[in-house]
Amino acid sequence: MPSMTMIQALNSALDNLLDRDPDVLIFGEDVGYFGGVFRVTDGLQKKYGLTRCFDGPITEGGLVAAAVGMGAYGLRPVVEIQFADYIYPAIDQLISEAARLRYRSAGQFISPITVRTPYGGGIFGGQTHSQSPEGLFTHVAGLTVVVPSTPYDAKGLLIAAIEDDDPVIFLEPKRLYNGPFDGRHDAPMQPWAKHPASETPSEYYKIPLGKAATVREGRDVTVLAYGAMVHVSLAAAEQSGVDAEIIDLRTLWPVDIDAITESVARTGRCVIVHEATRTSGFGAELSALVQEHCFYHLQAPIERVTGWDTPYPHLFEWEYFPGPDRVAAALKRVMEG
């Protein structure tokens, strides 16, 4: 089985679907001839032709609107928003239109669109190339929000997202594009090739949406994480010596509640980790769910390790980014509780 980076795995997913389904088409800023600023669509226009993978103007609202119209027609468009930080002009089309179209038309029109976008920090991108806006989308009835953490998952989840008949926000942790970054920014960069989850079939396969994965089994505490924070949490477990069970949510919403409750009921403790700002972040929802579903199993208060409630600061990237030290400290705190 070939070893792929996350970029190659995403490219392979798109390649498979362009090949299998003539109703799949890709557009976005710089995705055509050039193949995208992160190279995810590299070679696809050349292989499948101009109309299957083409450049869009710098109009995020317009790109998503066009996708909604195409979806209503019966196509399965995949839009790339170059950075998640740029998605805000498309918010009206996503929230008021794509998310609600099935509901408001009682199923006459649907929005089987996928919006791919790189998110998250760790690349010194400052406040307009580092944000984690997932909480804006998990709040919206009708949207599905997906975040992969490995090349293997990225491919299987993207295929499932594109084939899903409802709109999916597919957030790609850009710091993981080229390697499994664990938050130790001073250490040499690890390539995906050394990671077992980089083994990715060239062929079509799907990973079902709504299903989490347990990436580390443990007895002491359940860690809920996604994206780059999965790798940070793994490093923190090793560093702290706490026997943490780490759940990679993979689909944020609708979340795999069974996986969460089964684990927390067993460990009795829960730490939630995300890069996004804390207040009203997705961690708040996870914390509420754990409290509602597992209250009588909890032996300590739930901990959240998140980005601070500031805009993403360029100079203070590593003070902002929730690294293994902060997660390890939280793991130790819940064990004392």
Binding site: L25, T51, P57, T59, G61, G62, A65, A66, A67, V68, G69, M70, G71, A72, Y73, G74, L75, P77, P89, D92, Q93, S96, E97, L101, R102, Y103, R104, S105, A106, G107, Q108, F109, I110, A141, G142, T144, D164, D165, D166, G210, P254, I257
Partner: protein, 412 residues
């Protein structure tokens, strides 16, 4: 040395020519003679027909005669069909407005004075073409043969409502009649229509799309998105600006009509753009057919500004006497689309006031029967009601765990 302006800067806030208590004043509306506007070939580039974005295509003269190069070659039957659909729309609107006053529904919106826009355009398009309307193009549905009872059921949110009580009244959606789900976030449909048209072109289909937007909503980003994308990808779409002079209480100047026309916006994108008398059934039909011909020939989009007048309030929640001259509607220089088409039929001969009365009676009977049929399925607040359990359906294709749980919690 500090440099100073010769006079202090002054912020300009556009004002209409008349407010309540003032006489109506349409002196800024320049009316070229009917038949005077030229008709370019459909493959003319935008730059070769700039004048038409500032002109006004008119076909019917004051006596109801069709004149000039835009006079469409359409048979009498189609004209009668148009008159029938406009009367049906007007009758439907009156009935549903009254139903709101009777407490049978929470809300309604009339299209009086603008019926030619939706009806003539529906008849100029193919039945399979896709419409992305605003809330004032109910005439599209009625002209395409949608049963009025079906629309009433939506307004009443009753057990026959195709939208299952999910949308506020008049926010129709009807896939069977090529009518996209209406959004209250005005303008969003304009850019979506371009996406639909791109999809049709992508598939090598022969259907085109058409979108409508109000003069006020042209200020939304979606207007710019739509024109940009339509021009870039040469999408087979007709983009219509319904300039009915008023966006609730804001006159068209608030959306920037003092400096230019709405049609002229299209020129900046290289999209052929025309201004048409929106109360002239024949002119609207001709211009729409011209734009459709362009779209079908892979020549791309057309922007059409339909100059008309919103003869009634914005909605049942609005009172236009609070912000515009009382008799402005009567003074509207382009008249009433129903009366003008009727006058035209009279000039053709073989048409009498009795024929008109018969059409009107037919519309009244049809709407009365539809009302009876729809009201038997309930009205808002009384009669049969949909199960609240259905509230949780269609959020997603398959109901996720949290909605199943919430449905249980709701006890429905």
């Amino acid at each position: 040395m500090k440099r100073r302006n010769s006079q202090p800067l002054a912020l300009h806030i556009p004002q209409p020519l008349g407010r309540p208590g003032d006489p109506p004043d349409f002196s800024k509306l320049v009316l070229p003679a009917p038949g005077a506007a030229r008709r370019p070939e459909t493959d003319s580039p935008a730059a070769a027909m700039r004048d038409l974005a500032f002109d006004l295509v008119r076909v019917l003269d004051d006596k109801g005669k069709a004149v000039g190069p835009w006079a469409p070659k359409i048979d009498r039957e189609l004209l009668v069909e148009g008159l029938r659909a406009m009367l049906l729309t007007r009758t439907y609107d009156n009935r549903m407005f009254a139903a709101q006053r009777q407490g049978k529904t929470s809300f309604n919106m009339k299209s009086r004075g603008e019926e030619a826009v939706a009806v003539a355009q529906a008849l100029a398009l193919h039945a399979e073409d896709m419409c992305f309307p605003t809330y004032r193009q109910q005439g599209l549905l009625l002209a395409r043969g949608c049963p009025p009872a079906r629309m009433m059921c939506q307004v009443y949110s009753n057990t026959g409502d195709p939208l299952k009580g999910r949308q506020m009244p008049v926010f129709y959606s009807d896939r069977e009649y090529g009518f996209f789900s209406i959004s209250g976030n005005v303008g969003t449909q304009f850019s979506q229509a371009v996406g639909w048209a791109m999809a049709s072109a992508y598939k090598g289909d022969d259907r085109i799309s058409a979108a409508w937007i109000g003069d006020g909503s042209t200020a939304e980003g979606d207007f710019h998105y739509a024109l940009t994308l339509a021009a870039v990808y040469r999408a087979p779409v007709i983009l219509n600006v319904v300039n009915n002079q008023w966006a609730i209480s804001s006159f068209q100047g608030i959306a920037n009509s003092e400096q230019t026309t709405f049609a002229a916006r299209g020129l900046g994108y290289g999209v052929p753009s025309l201004r048409v008398d929106g109360n002239d059934f024949l002119a609207v039909y001709a211009v729409t057919a011209w734009a459709a011909q362009r779209a079908r020939a892979n020549l791309g989009a057309t922007l059409i500004e339909l100059v008309t007048y919103r003869a009634e309030g914005h909605s049942t929640s609005d009172d236009p006497s609070k912000y515009r001259p009382a008799d402005e509607a009567k003074a509207w220089p382009l008249g009433d689309p129903v009366a003008r088409l009727q006058a035209h039929l009279e000039t053709l001969g073989g048409w009498s006031p009795a024929d008109y009365d018969a059409l009107e009676a037919e519309a009244l009977a049809k709407i009365a029967a539809a009302g009876k049929e729809a009201e038997a399925m309930g009205v808002l607040g009384s009669g049969p009601r949909l199960s609240p359990a259905s509230m949780f359906d269609d959020v997603y294709k398959d109901m996720p765990w949290h909605l199943i749980r919430q449905r249980q919690q709701a006890g429905v």
